[in-house]
């Protein structure tokens, strides 16, 4: 099936149309796969032999004579373990020897040339496994069927008499055995069966998937040999340091290149775009040193008048503005609250946050004649391809993207690809020279696509018995869609900012039923660029909903867990996860003196999450998080050990945001420039984390993001339990806890 889709991830690409093939794995004989200059796309453990010795069974599986199975993974690996998980799913259906599995990554150009045989490459929204599990498993199964068929053909026996296990094919009747490596060449010449016709295994029978396999990509992260994009070396390569106008929306007026002429290693200072200048030199340190010395004149523009205080006022106005988008209106919440026996009200706020990936933005671009290439840590190699094509002016089939594993992504390196555009603009001015652009940490902090800022007012009505009868939620804040794709939300209707509050089942459903509910969003945009940030809007929205639940429970004189349970009867999956966390954490049982519990549940990215936090607050107001229990139903658990790693990581990411994370605006620019002011949690503050995985096997949910959102509210609720004083504004570093 052919279909036409709009764009492939970048905002300015909506006009560009791509003809794409069905995402299902097809057959296809081996095509010449050209290894890119400088670095092979294959995983470092791939150790590919010569191209002649490899047989491409289908798009997903290649087999070498020594029985090595090379599994193709097209989603980006940025630490989240998707590479290993997808390989497990293919290997499970392939019935190969897991100890002989390696991986490699097709390029975006190869995907384009083969009519998107590998489907979408974008890796965000915790979709890496859940949206490709079906076709990669079918790809593995089809390859297995072809390999077994080749053996049957060789033996001249019916294929149904052959069995396979661990990459060894057996014909019991004649007591013959062979291996995948021996029949791969013949298998590659067979016509592939229709992937849709394949019967996939019952996940309960899995032997490789579902098991806590070791990651495939650990070894070279232990000895410095893993090459990140920032580490690339190429013959003739030059390095670029860059500076964009520190005020968002400001412009570059001029720069005085003569002042850096003669500085060591400097080649040139160049205009990159209307707002940006770069210095190109032999080493990055020389480029950065000269950039620091370069006199630059900016036109800071209207944004220079903006500050955090002004932005906060604008959001506050949105909380009570007459007009707001009504997303959910069930019953008459305002009337019910007015007439309620008891009324509870609170206003919460969350700040802008930077991603602060450990590896700063960088990439290397080379433009020679009619060919453009980029070596890039990207969450969306097809968006990188589109950005390279647009900025270089070269057609897609003359562009190539060599995706390199990311030193952290968290949503920063997805559709926008600003750094690819910049490097391309520079490389156009240095024909034939590979240009490695590296952002300083300061540039990275100054020009992120920040997690959007918002405030939320909530009001609830309780009846005489303490039952919550009505809820009014009004979020006022910035919209990601309004920044990335303004026409999609021109009328202020933006469901995305209400992520986690949806009525509809599936991706981010609210786990409560209220007799009366009014859910509103007042869009209040700023001049600050915003974008996805690991868990984006579930993080803020879970804080609002779940902290308010505890305030309402206290007003009702109810236990926070029991109060929630009473509202969750129509949401058994949410409730089961909440109960799993509560049970593991011994909710209701006595704690050591000074330790207090908080609980929270929420849904996002197709998965159900809950957390119980145990904290203490000293008499000076110092917080310590001792233990966190997190429960997750992600439907299918492909690698429990890696799921636990993601949950542990989500605690660190979530706690950093809870305790410290804040980007503030002064004179139109970001104040926090580096880790001295944008504080990140350290090991000493890491609590004991216990992960409870409760898969129900009836859906596929995400893993990388869902549990972050329950970290902050469970901790904030534990603080409330400890102090009796609710915390309503993040980060906690600004709050007096006692």
């Amino acid at each position: 099936m052919k279909k036409t889709i709009e764009g492939i991830g970048t905002t300015s690409l909506s006009r560009r149309k791509f003809i794409v093939g069905s995402a299902a794995a097809g057959g296809g004989l081996a095509l010449g796969m050209q290894l890119p200059f400088g670095i092979a796309p294959a995983d470092a453990q791939g150790a590919r032999g010569s191209a002649e010795s490899i047989s491409e069974i289908n798009a997903w599986v290649l087999v070498k004579p020594d029985d090595t199975c090379v599994i193709r993974v097209v989603r980006s690996e940025m630490g989240q373990g998707t590479l290993t998980g997808l390989a497990q799913l293919v290997a499970e259906e392939l019935e190969c020897d897991w100890s002989k599995v390696t991986t490699e990554s097709p390029t975006a150009g190869q995907n384009y040339a083969r009519k998107r045989i590998w489907g979408e490459m974008g890796t965000g929204g915790s979709r890496g496994i859940r949206t490709s599990e079906d076709y990669v498993r079918r790809g593995g199964a089809v390859a297995r069927m072809m390999l077994v068929q080749a053996a049957a053909d060789q033996w001249k026996v019916p294929v149904g008499e052959c069995s396979v296990s661990n990459g060894v094919i057996t014909h019991a009747g004649s007591n013959r055995k062979t291996t995948y490596g021996k029949v791969a060449g013949a298998a590659a010449k067979l016509t592939a069966p229709d992937p849709k016709s394949v019967q996939l295994k019952d996940p309960k029978q899995w032997k490789i998937a579902g098991k806590p396999m070791k990651r495939l990509d650990t070894a070279d992260k232990l000895n410095g040999s893993k090459i990140f994009a920032i580490d690339l070396k190429m013959p003739g390569m030059m390095n670029a340091a860059i500076k964009a106008c520190p005020v968002f929306g400001g412009k570059l007026v001029s720069f005085d290149e003569s002042k850096i002429a003669g500085m060591p290693g400097v080649r040139r200072a160049v205009k990159v775009n209307d707002a940006t200048v770069a210095v190109v030199a032999d080493t990055w340190w020389h480029a950065k040193t000269a950039l620091n010395a370069l006199p630059i004149v900016w036109d800071e523009g209207q944004g220079a008048s903006q500050s955090s205080a002004i932005i906060a006022e604008r959001l506050k106005e949105g909380l009570t503005a007459e007009v707001a988008y009504q997303s959910r209106k069930e019953g008459d919440a305002l009337k019910a609250i007015d007439g309620a026996a008891k009324k509870v009200e609170a206003v919460y706020s969350t700040p802008f946050l930077a991603h602060a990936t450990m590896e700063p933005m960088n990439c290397t671009v080379k433009i020679s004649g009619d060919k453009a290439e980029v070596w890039v840590p990207t969450q969306n190699a097809e968006a990188s391809l589109a950005a390279l094509s647009e900025e270089s002016g070269l057609p897609l089939d003359k562009c190539e993207v060599y995706r390199i594993d990311l030193g952290g992504g968290f949503g920063r390196r997805g559709g926008t690809q600003d750094y690819v555009r910049q490097a391309t603009a520079i490389a156009k001015q240095f024909s034939g020279v590979p240009i490695k652009l590296i952002w300083s940490r300061e540039e990275d902090m100054s020009h992120d696509f920040y997690r959007p800022i918002s405030q939320c007012s909530l009001a609830a009505g309780l009846d005489e018995s303490g039952k919550l009868t009505a809820l009014h939620v009004r979020i006022s804040g910035q919209s990601i869609n309004a920044f990335l794709n303004p026409s999609s939300v021109a009328d202020g209707k933006d469901e995305r900012q209400l992520q986690g509050y949806y009525e509809k089942a599936g991706d981010a459903q609210l786990g409560y039923t209220f007799p009366n509910l009014l859910m509103e969003y007042a869009m209040r945009n700023t001049h600050v660029p915003v974008g996805p940030w690991r868990g984006v809007n579930t993080n803020q929205n879970a804080v609002y909903m779940e902290c308010f639940m505890d305030e309402a429970a206290r007003a009702a004189g109810a236990d926070p867990l029991e109060f929630r349970r009473a509202l969750m009867r129509n949401h058994p999956k949410h409730l089961a996860v909440l109960n799993a966390a509560a049970e593991k954490a011994d909710w209701g049982k006595p704690l050591p003196p000074g330790i207090h519990r908080g609980i929270a549940q929420f849904m996002g990215y197709g998965s159900y999450s809950a957390a119980v936090a145990e904290v203490s607050v000293s008499s000076e107001g110092k917080l310590k998080v001792h233990r966190m229990v997190l429960a997750l139903n992600c439907g299918h658990a492909v690698n429990p050990n890696q799921i636990a790693a993601q949950v542990e990581g989500s605690v660190a990411y979530g706690l950093t945001a809870t305790m410290y994370g804040e980007c503030t605006v002064d004179k139109g620019r970001m104040v926090e420039q580096n880790f001295d002011t944008y504080q990140i949690m350290r090991l000493a503050e890491m609590p004991k984390v216990e992960t409870v995985i409760v898969p129900t096997y009836d859906f596929w949910g995400g893993v990388g993001e869902p549990t972050i959102c329950v970290v902050a509210p469970s901790v904030m609720n534990a603080i409330y339990a400890a102090t009796g004083k609710p915390v309503r504004s993040l980060p906690l570093k600004n709050a007096k806890l006692v």
Binding site: P212, R215, I230, M358, E359, E648, A652, F675, L683
Partner: protein
Amino acid sequence: MAKLNINGKVRDVQVEADTPLLWVIRENVGLTGTKYGCGVAQCGACSVHINGNVMRSCSIPVGSIKAGDKIVTIEGLSATSSHPVQKAWAQLDVPQCGYCQSGQIMAAAALLNKNPNPSDKDIDDAMTNICRCGTYARIRDAVRIAAGTSRPARASAGDDSVTTA
């Protein structure tokens, strides 16, 4: 011109004296396992050993390195990833993205070299490098394993770090 003893090999580098050691190691010597994260000695991605002490190389001018100073980078920690810290890291699958892990491993190796039996507080005090993926829990466990003071390995029977229903 500077003479640097890195991983037991003396190298001459032609570089301005105020260049941070990190960038000399990465760009002039060509060893890229040592990473740039902040440039202000906050994150520790650039950690190396100088005469056995863990140091943040982004904030050390190469000109301040004395003749005879012995610098060890992640590439020089062991020839075959056989250092107890590297083995413990492998055992627990500590790295996620891996970008900060060279620095984490160098910090842990320096800690255990000076203090073979660190207490939990010693580990907290010594391991101050930033990890954005949030591998801290596994780093802590891996340091204990490398020190030989560990509980049973994670995700095995009796361990409560992960439970699957």
